[in-house]
């Protein structure tokens, strides 16, 4: 399709990018944490990708190339707005702290139907937003957008091993934040939802 676009069928660029729109948005959102800024970044990046299309090399995946452009655009906006704070890359004052999940006695599954509740969706979104940027990036690409480890690594320009390290920490941070709120029991999300109207799936 890229060859056809470069040969003059420009309108096909719409078709080319359509499958990746959601991923692109969340790549930008993972850094900017604001929907309006993320949308602006995606628009700008897609225009840049169109203009740069002759320079795309087929040895890389188009989706990865495109996501990288969005990521660079988002990073550029962060630098420009001085929003970013420099965060420790892979070390923390207490490395074990990153590996400590919320230790709970048992787990009762939270069904996907619970996502019909705005409170549950917001709780998850806030937990992701609270992750340090380097963990949020890998978590969104791998666990929200379902890119493979290798695709996540290629998009971020880092090694597969580093993705795995960051993913472990991100997942345990998410568990530590959310499990106590979602778990069955007094004061947990189940207790809260049981009192609510329409919580019949519990």
């Amino acid at each position: 399709m890229i060859v056809r676009i470069l040969s003059g069928e420009r309108e096909l660029f719409h078709v080319l990018i359509r499958p990746y729109e959601k991923t692109l948005f969340f790549v930008a959102f993972s850094l900017l944490r604001n929907a309006e800024d993320a949308e602006d970044a995606v628009q700008e990046a897609v225009m840049k990708a169109y203009k740069a299309l002759p320079r795309f090399r087929s040895e890389s995946k188009f989706s990865t190339w495109l996501a990288s452009i969005v990521l660079n655009e988002a990073r550029g906006r962060l630098r420009h707005d001085r929003i970013v704070t420099f965060e420790s890359v892979d070390a923390s004052p207490d490395p074990d702290e990153d590996f400590a999940p919320a230790v709970i006695a048992d787990w009762r599954e939270v069904p996907s139907q619970s996502l019909e509740r705005k409170e549950v969706r917001e709780m998850i979104q806030q937990a992701i937003a609270a992750l340090p940027a380097i963990y949020r990036e890998v978590f969104i690409l791998r666990d929200v957008q379902d890119l493979s480890i290798s695709e996540t690594a290629a998009t971020l320009g880092i090694a597969d091993g580093l993705v795995k390290v960051r993913l472990l920490r991100a997942r345990l941070m998410m568990q530590k934040c959310l499990a106590p709120k979602l778990q069955t029991g007094r004061g947990g999300m189940f207790g809260f939802l049981r009192k609510g109207v329409g919580a019949s799936w519990f």
Partner: protein, 83 residues
């Protein structure tokens, strides 16, 4: 190979990915069979990942795609790729 809880936590992400070697997998599963806390950590982490990946958790802003393609049409009609 005998693992304690911290060892299991350090491998839990790779275990979910299915990328631990058979020896480690067996050691983790032996530990999980006897440690309800680590079993709950694994179950809760998996459950949270299922919720996170659900399309309902994150939705695109309404009109996002339309606005993107409208702007793209303007550029496409004005200049060729590389232009």
């Amino acid at each position: 190979m005998v693992l304690n809880c911290k060892h299991v936590w350090r491998e839990i992400s790779n275990y979910i990915e299915g990328t631990v070697d058979p020896g480690m997998r067996e050691a983790i599963e032996t530990h999980l069979a006897h440690c309800r806390h680590c079993a709950a950590v694994l179950d809760s982490t998996r459950n949270i990942l299922v919720l996170v990946a659900d399309d309902r958790t994150f939705e695109l802003p309404i009109g996002f795609s339309d606005r993107l393609h409208t702007k793209l049409s303007e550029v496409i009609s004005a200049i060729p790729p590389g232009g």
